[in-house]
């Protein structure tokens, strides 16, 4: 649960991208969110082409005419064009992000650190269950994308890693 957001926030591009990722991760057909008088619906296309990525169709409710509906786009198109050698490590769960094993210790990793697949890179805590998150990818940390001690959502980017 976050703090109250402004009504425009629900149409934030990053949030829409995260919603699409959530739909893909959980194989959801449709998502319908409302916040005040704003609404966003995401629905998979009904005639998927074998082998292609699922299509998402954002639908904006008539109560929000000021926001022009975007053309349908596959989730891959929603991702910014990135270096193919870059991987984003995402949070496997909702919780609190900790960069270090305890408040008096140095962070597990920092920008420039080489990491292996088994390297512990952070903790995500939920309900006092401390999940030590392993990189599951080898490379070098190029960005830390979450704040120590702050809440993170499922699928939220935590680190950017250069893999080659």
């Amino acid at each position: 649960m976050g703090s109250p957001s402004s009504t425009q926030d629900v149409f934030d591009v990053r949030k829409i991208r995260r919603l699409i990722e959530l739909m893909n991760d959980h194989n959801l057909q449709e998502m319908d969110l409302r916040q005040g008088d704003m609404r966003i619906q995401l629905r998979r296309a009904s005639d998927p082409v074998a082998g292609s990525l699922p299509q998402m169709q954002p639908v904006l409710a008539p109560t929000a005419p000021a926001v022009a509906p975007a053309p349908a786009a596959p989730p891959a198109a929603a991702e910014p064009v990135e270096d193919p050698n870059t991987t984003i490590i995402k949070s496997p769960m909702v919780g609190t992000f900790y960069a270090a094993p305890d408040p008096d210790s140095a962070p597990y990793v920092k920008v420039g650190d080489p990491i292996g697949r088994d390297t512990v890179i952070c903790i995500v805590e939920a309900m006092k269950v401390f999940n030590e998150i392993q990189a599951e990818v080898a490379g070098m940390i190029t960005a830390v994308l979450a704040e120590n001690g702050e809440p993170v959502e499922f699928g939220q980017p935590l680190f950017r890693v250069k893999t080659a």
Partner: protein, 263 residues
């Protein structure tokens, strides 16, 4: 609970626990810094012993909460950690947090009969309390994606006079409340049996664990203040949701919370 046939023993009979097949492997230590750290160390070994694995220590010198909220373990308390596999789980880590509730529910079920008619219950997410004081704490750590360490500390046979002065108004011990000593093996056997039941409900029926935790929740109706990073949420506790989240009713309505520090 049946009375033990001999004077209560503080040293856990790990051979009995293994022979009764409550765990596959058990280690007993006279003294450890942290049973959780030892279990995590084992989890990272290349050759892992059969699981579940129990680590017990007569004395734990630095049992942990996070940071300054460290867990006090008295000289005659019960401290143990259980290392379990999650390899049969599907669907990732999303339901792993409910294991803290499963451990807590099992602990309440074992401790409540010993403390009757007092009310023993859970303070979300990881404390077992009696009469407003903390009796036991749980710290779960996942050292890898498919291993879980459930750390439990129970104030059993320590006396309140052993408790540091700054904690005395917040801690209860089983011995002080019941005026008798309690056998650590019997307590641990009881917990392992109930844990096995509740852990078996996860992850497919995690809602059963959460519902049991909700029935035992001592914070219902209380005004709580939850801090998580820069966020603060204040409201009335409405119990525990089916996914294990704490439900707070604030000015904005009902909200579910998965992490944070309660004040």
């Amino acid at each position: 609970m049946p009375r033990p046939p001999r004077p209560p023993a503080l040293t856990v009979d790990v051979q009995r626990i293994v022979s009764e097949k409550l765990v596959a492997t058990a280690e007993h230590h006279e003294r450890l810094e942290s049973t959780n750290d030892r279990a995590k160390q084992i989890a990272r070994q290349e050759e892992e012993p059969p699981l579940p694995l129990l680590v017990v220590a007569n004395q734990q010198s630095s049992g942990r909460g996070r940071g300054a909220r460290s867990w006090w373990t008295g000289p005659q308390s019960l401290a143990f950690s259980l290392l379990v596999s999650l390899e049969h789980w599907t669907g990732g880590r999303a339901r792993v947090p409910v294991t803290a509730l499963a451990a807590g529910v099992a602990l309440v079920e074992v401790l409540a009969p010993r403390l009757a008619p007092r009310t023993v219950g859970l303070e979300w997410p990881n404390d077992v309390c009696v009469e407003g004081r903390k009796l036991a704490g749980i710290l779960v750590e996942a050292p890898t994606a498919n291993r879980l360490v459930i750390g439990v500390g129970v104030n059993t046979n320590s006396r309140l006079s052993d408790v540091p002065a700054e904690l005395q108004d917040r801690i209860a011990t089983l011995c002080d409340r019941t005026a008798t000593c309690h056998d650590h093996t019997e307590l641990l056997v009881g917990w392992l049996q109930r844990w096995d039941h509740w852990f078996g409900c996860l992850p497919g029926q995690a809602n059963l664990v959460a519902e049991a935790a909700d029935r035992l929740c001592l914070q219902r109706g209380l005004h709580l203040r939850l801090r998580r990073g820069a966020e603060v949420h204040e409201g009335i506790c409405r119990g525990i949701a089916a996914d294990g989240a704490l439900i707070l009713e604030t000015a904005e309505g009902l909200g579910k919370h998965y992490s944070g520090t309660l004040h």
